[in-house]
């Protein structure tokens, strides 16, 4: 058996390599979505089965298991064409073979030690544009993948240490920001090549045999650790379902249903009962569905290191033909909305089994607002992306986070001042959205609301969700407010037909777009929230007086204003009486 010291050292050595690749790409990429919002990931993979060996610390969670599937596709393709050779780097973005959406481009490189294939290294980065008929790639009206951009199957980008410039030219000619995307391609290649060098150094140091033993051991230990957690979950079948507003093309809700069965130290997750594949772009490839389930487990048990063993105890069944198992030529650019809902139903199901570990639903939409056009000052094409920030669900031990990044992401919101420099638009406000978190003993975190005003004509697209079906609370906690998207066009207020989705709308000076994101669900009965916290919520303007009275059952004794802010004092005695009366009513109602 491998000694515990070497094991621990090798584990941090591998993670370190991935961290270095993350940093390298973040610092040198051209796409703000990578450099500013860390929309990338790096990992090291087993060359026999493509399973994850190690991943970087800042990589996007949704890429967590997904990259493993991308690596497996490349592995199959390489094996079918003579196997990997030294000096190769492969590229792919094909969704149905391990991709997510076309903008996420994967590079995979073999690492040879003494002429023998030792490991695979992969880099995923989100390119700002990948062609298709909407700038930035989020096209809510797409009905087949070819409208979403250029499809790159697993192919060799580098051979014998030489880049295939014909292939590069072909790809770059099909995207909107050719120079920037070429910069990203160079940066990603350089990141995997650096990772390859560093891995080779680690092998030199510990020998291939020792390292190989460590890898087997690490995978087994992660599996054991996850099994130990699952064994603590009471055995049973836990089902939950929720819906997506529409697919952007057909205005009908899509249902995501999950049934989680826990038996001993294993878990099976089944998406039977989920709606059939969508005509619009709200489809999720099966590998991404599986990956999202893993992200949910990892959020609940963050201590288990990620590798091929981590998720072996959980098997996922994704029925073919559903919205969670996209097949060619289904469009997928709205995949993140489906992934969010998959994440939510996992929480909803597991909350029944382990309520102390699971938060209420987060805001549940990536809600990307994409702007594009030719900048009047530079004459150059630009694409800007503003994802929704929203609130997190409350837990059994605290309020939810305000303005979080989606749990399946780590991406940040770009600075407003920098955006006003880069794009011909202005923000009229960017604010916490009052009352948007669900009521509860612990409140859901609040979402945000912002208004964009163009300074020049531009084309705006929105891909969001959670208007018709809102983020749920748990254990008596209330739901969050719905996502609201409002435009002002030629002086008139206008709400898009699909509420949360909008394709390539031209807007100009005098018009505006307002996006208000949901908060997170509440946790526990709001009538038990401590009065001093309700008073503080009121004074901070997190909740309105009406909500305090109706949802939290308090009586306001005094209200005054300081410099335009309302200030409140509660009447504790009357509040207790009111709450007692409502509690009694509920109890009485329950006995009939």
């Amino acid at each position: 058996m491998i000694d515990p010291i070497t094991l621990s050292v090798v584990r941090s050595g591998l993670e370190q390599i991935c961290n270095e690749m993350d940093q390298h790409l973040i610092r040198s990429s051209m796409s703000p979505i990578i450099s500013e919002t860390n929309d990338c990931a790096h990992g090291i993979y087993d060359p026999r089965n493509g399973e994850t060996i190690a991943q970087g610390a800042v990589g996007l969670p949704v890429f967590l298991a997904n990259m493993q599937f991308a690596v497996q596709s490349v592995l199959a393709e390489a094996n079918a064409s003579g196997g990997f050779r030294p000096g190769e780097v492969w590229i792919l973005n094909e969704v149905y073979r391990g991709g997510t959406h076309l903008n996420d481009v994967n590079l995979v490189a073999p690492v040879f030690v003494d002429g023998e294939l030792f490991a695979l290294i992969a880099s995923t980065g989100h390119w700002m544009d990948i062609g298709g008929n909407a700038p930035g790639g989020w096209n809510p009206e797409a009905t087949e993948i070819h409208q979403e951009g250029i499809v790159i199957p697993p192919v060799r980008l580098w051979e014998d240490g030489k880049r295939n410039d014909a292939l590069v030219a072909m790809i770059i000619a099909n995207v909107r920001l050719p120079r920037d995307m070429l910069g990203d391609l160079v940066a990603m290649s350089s990141a995997v090549q650096m990772g390859e060098r560093r891995l080779r150094e680690l092998v030199d140091r510990y020998s291939q045999a020792t390292l190989g033993e460590c890898l087997v051991e690490l995978v087994e230990r992660s599996e054991r650790q996850m099994r130990a957690h699952i064994a603590e979950i009471p055995d049973g079948v836990y089902a939950y379902s929720d819906t997506i507003d529409n697919d952007g093309v057909v205005d009908e809700p899509l249902r995501i249903a999950v049934e989680v069965t826990v038996a001993g130290d294993s878990m099976s997750i089944d998406f039977s009962g989920t709606s059939a594949a969508a005509r619009g772009p709200l489809n999720l490839a099966a590998n991404s569905t599986i990956s999202t389930c893993y992200v949910a487990l990892k959020h609940i048990y963050p201590d288990v290191p990620i590798n091929g063993g981590t998720f072996r105890p959980a098997t996922v069944h994704v029925p073919a033909g559903t919205v969670t198992a996209a097949e060619y030529p289904r469009p997928v650019s709205g995949y993140l909305e489906v992934a969010n809902r998959v994440f939510d139903v996992m929480l909803g199901a597991l909350a029944q089994a382990i309520p102390e570990l699971v938060p209420a639903a987060p805001f549940g939409t990536i809600g990307v607002v994409t702007v594009g056009g030719v900048h009047p000052e530079t004459g150059r094409y630009y694409v800007g992306v503003f994802p929704y920030p929203g609130g997190y669900g409350a837990t059994g031990s605290g309020d939810g986070l305000v303005n979080g990044t989606p749990p399946i992401s780590m991406a940040n919101f770009v600075a407003l001042e920098a955006s006003e420099h880069r794009y011909p638009l202005m923000f009229e406000y960017f604010a916490l959205r009052e009352n948007s978190g669900g009521a509860g003993h612990f409140r859901g975190g609040d979402g945000t609301t912002y208004k964009i005003v163009p300074r020049a004509p531009l084309v705006i697209s929105v891909m969001g969700d959670r208007h018709d079906s809102v983020p749920f609370g748990l254990n008596g906690g209330g739901p969050a407010l719905a996502n609201e998207l409002t435009l002002e066009l030629h002086g008139e207020e206008w709400i898009p037909a699909m509420r949360t989705k909008l394709a390539k709308q031209e807007i100009g000076p005098g018009d505006s777009l307002t996006a208000s994101s949901p908060g997170g669900g509440g946790h526990g009965d709001p009538l038990t929230r401590p009065l001093e916290l309700v008073e503080q919520d009121l004074n901070f303007g997190y909740i309105t007086a009406e909500s305090a009275e109706e949802q939290f059952g308090v009586a306001i004794a005094q209200r005054w204003s300081v410099g335009g802010h309302d200030r409140f004092r509660l009447d504790p005695e009357r509040s207790e009486q009111l709450r007692a009366a409502r509690g009694a009513t509920a109890l009485t109602a329950g006995t009939h």
């Binding site: 010291i5 621990s8 370190q16 450099s35 920037d180 350089s190 230990r221 605290g398 770009v414 303007g541």
Partner: protein, 679 residues
């Protein structure tokens, strides 16, 4: 007999360093810190050292007061005024979460929402006023604020970095209403874009300003009472000093006062010893702080995240901290893997061996069990001895879970903690485009010299330097540092290029003028400091990026550089950092920066040379390396310049223990540094 002293106030101890007088050894004093009033410990140290106030020409000081106030949320009650529509920028941050995995955790903004107000005004990204400042609104609000019991009012408007008129006018109006308020405008703190980071920085400044102002005044008064009539100098996060009377207005620059002093001292000592590229490692009770320095200059970070959603964007020495110190606790995780830290036993209850109630094995305990720390060393004032048996029992228990005996478990703990430290060293060097093997390591802090040799081996570093007083290096750093002012301003314009239209591009003469203005301002600030300088140094930098990139590189440039040389300098730096360049893409000047440094004459502060022969060891003890070896033990005081020794050996000194591994060689240089090398 004039002299100077440096005093560093840390969380546990307050250290004093006085350079040797007339070729004598330096004076080093450690007294317990007094968290209730840190200046009391400063006075304790001065009295304990027997410093004569009438002979003292300069008092130099590092302090954790700002950091502690922030961590414990003990700063001022503040109000924040923002552009209408943007009062929540401070609370919303940039859409993130505390940890990549796990969905709990909250953020408490330093100014809660009920004390953030909006003012009608708007300036665009070019500095053009779109909506004039509502002066009546400011006055009305100011009147209301009188009833709100706030000590500081912070003003942060959008795009104020390009046009500060509205912020400046608001300040005037506020001061008219109440001259006692500390008023902080965001543009006076940071002349750069990124509204959240600038607002956060201004809020941190405003939150700390009253406290730091009071502390500095209090300290100066106590020193005066004691008989020292001059201004004290305080260390800033950028490694430069500032007069204590001006510390309040720079409160946001005090957050890394102590650690910066240590890095400055380490970098200077190493440079004078002939090492141009050094990694400095300060290992204390709870953390390991790493920094790198080139040519005696520590590298800097432009933004530092102090806590979740609490960034500060002022130049700070780029000191990375990981939770790996003497008090870091060893445990076995659910997967059966040994982990060390970041949980720490701190100084209380502390390691098991200290007998203060600690029950979990720590890194210090591992060093004790392996014979690396003198078992007869007394702990604390009571003179009690180390509890070696207690520590050994804990490792036996830990070892059971790993299938190891007590000593192997202790060795495993050292290996794991050394690996974590080495990993951090690798990350900080590689991130900045360096190969760690090109660097010498400077080990300091109470634990640095215990672990330095192992890190050297792990990282394949050629040499290690252990300064004469590694345990009080921060206090020494205060003595050898310079006075420094940083100025910056956002430009955000594309460089002109031959053949491309000039429209929308930077007129480089504007940049030249900006550098000149910054130089004038910096020299003016130095004049205000009212000190004697041996020389004044002015350096200009341009933060540059390819068009569209977010991450920029800081490039040293001349104040009158033309467009072509700016572009060349950027591309050269880019190639060094990333090993590639991006062809004919345009280059943007993001920020213009100037650093004005008043150099103090500090040569006399460093230890003097002397002649030395190989001394007799004090004795020997069994120390565990790869195996147990009877190892000679020397006293540091006996090691005079010129002396050379071969490992393995142990060097005891009052403030730490130095471990030299087998096959390593140590010599004492002219400045009494230990220079350790390995084959």
């Amino acid at each position: 007999m004039s002299t100077l002293v440096g005093v560093d106030v840390g969380g546990t101890f307050t250290d004093l360093f006085q350079p040797g007088v007339n070729g004598g050894p330096p004076l080093v004093v450690k007294v317990p810190s007094r968290p209730d009033d840190p200046s009391l410990a400063v006075m304790d140290a001065l009295v304990a050292a027997g410093v004569d106030p009438t002979q003292l020409i300069q008092f130099l000081h590092g302090t954790t007061i700002a950091t502690n106030a922030l961590i414990e949320r003990r700063g001022a009650r503040c109000a924040l005024l923002t552009t209408r529509g943007f009062r929540d920028v401070l609370e919303l941050g940039r859409r993130d979460r505390p940890h990549i995995y796990g969905l709990s955790g909250k953020h408490q903004p330093l100014v809660p929402r009920d004390r953030r107000w909006e003012i009608t005004e708007r300036i665009d990204y070019r500095g053009k006023v779109l909506i004039p400042l509502d002066e009546d609104g400011v006055c009305e609000l100011a009147a209301a604020l009188l009833e709100e019991d706030v000590a500081t009012v912070i003003v942060s408007y959008l795009h104020s970095y390009v046009n500060a008129a509205h912020e400046d006018r608001t300040r005037e109006l506020l001061v008219d209403v109440n001259p006692d308020w500390h008023v902080v405008t965001s543009s006076s703190v940071l002349r750069e874009y990124y509204e959240f980071e600038r607002t956060s920085t201004a809020v941190i400044q405003g939150y700390l300003q009253p406290l730091v102002t009071n502390y500095a005044a209090n300290l100066v008064a106590r020193l005066q009472e004691w008989g020292f009539a001059q201004d004290a100098l305080i260390m800033q996060s950028n490694g430069g000093l500032i007069p204590a009377t001006r510390a309040g207005e720079r409160a946001g620059h005090m957050l890394r006062s102590g650690p910066a002093a240590g890095v400055i001292a380490a970098a200077q000592i190493a440079q004078r010893a002939g090492f141009d590229r050094v990694i400095t490692g300060d290992m204390g009770g709870t953390s390991f702080d790493v920094a790198i320095s080139l040519d005696g200059r520590p590298s800097e970070a432009e933004t530092t995240l102090l806590d979740f959603r609490l960034p500060v964007r002022v130049p700070m020495l780029d000191v990375r901290t990981i939770g790996a110190g003497g008090g870091s606790i060893a445990s076995v995780d659910l997967g059966g893997i040994l982990t060390v830290g970041p949980r720490s036993a701190g100084s209380y209850p502390g390691p098991i061996a200290f007998g203060r109630g600690g029950t979990e094995p720590t890194v210090t305990d591992a060093n004790v069990v392996l014979g690396r720390i003198n078992p007869d060393r007394s702990i604390g004032a009571e003179g009690q001895k180390l509890d070696i048996d207690g520590a050994r029992r804990a490792f036996a228990k830990l070892g059971e879970q790993l299938g190891l005996d007590a000593e192997s478990a202790a060795r495993a703990v050292l290996t794991v903690v050394n690996t974590r430290m080495a990993g951090e060293i690798r990350l900080i060097t590689v991130e900045q485009g360096h190969d760690p093997r090109d660097f010498a390591f400077v080990a300091f802090g109470g634990g640095g010299p215990l672990h330095g040799a192992a890190l050297m081996r792990e990282m394949q570093l050629g040499s290690m330097l252990v300064p004469p007083s590694p345990g009080v290096l921060c206090a020494m750093g205060c003595v050898v540092a310079d006075v420094r002012h940083d100025l910056s301003r956002t430009v955000e314009r594309t460089l002109p290029r031959p053949g491309a239209g000039a429209e929308g591009r930077l007129d480089v003469s504007e940049l030249t003028a900006m550098f000149a203005a910054q130089r004038t301002e910096g020299e003016h600030q130095l004049a205000l400091d009212n000190l004697d300088f041996a020389s004044v140094e002015v350096q200009h930098f341009a933060d540059m990026a390819y068009t569209g990139q977010i991450h920029r590189l800081r490039v040293h440039v001349s104040g009158d550089a033309d467009a072509e040389s700016l572009r060349e300098a950027f591309i050269a730096k880019y190639r060094t950092e990333y090993g590639t360049e991006l062809g004919d893409l345009d280059v943007v000047i993001v920020n213009a920066r100037t650093v004005v440094t008043g150099r103090r004459d500090t040569d006399s502060a460093l230890p003097p040379a002397g002649g030395g022969e190989v001394p007799e060891p004090l004795g020997s003890r069994r120390v565990c390396f790869e195996e147990w070896i009877e190892t000679p033990v020397y006293s540091r005081a006996d090691l005079r310049p010129g002396c050379q020794l071969d490992g393995p050996l142990v060097i005891d000194q009052p403030d730490t223990t130095v471990i030299i591994e087998p096959d390593m060689h140590v010599r004492v240089d002219d400045a009494s540094n230990l220079i350790v090398s390995q084959p």
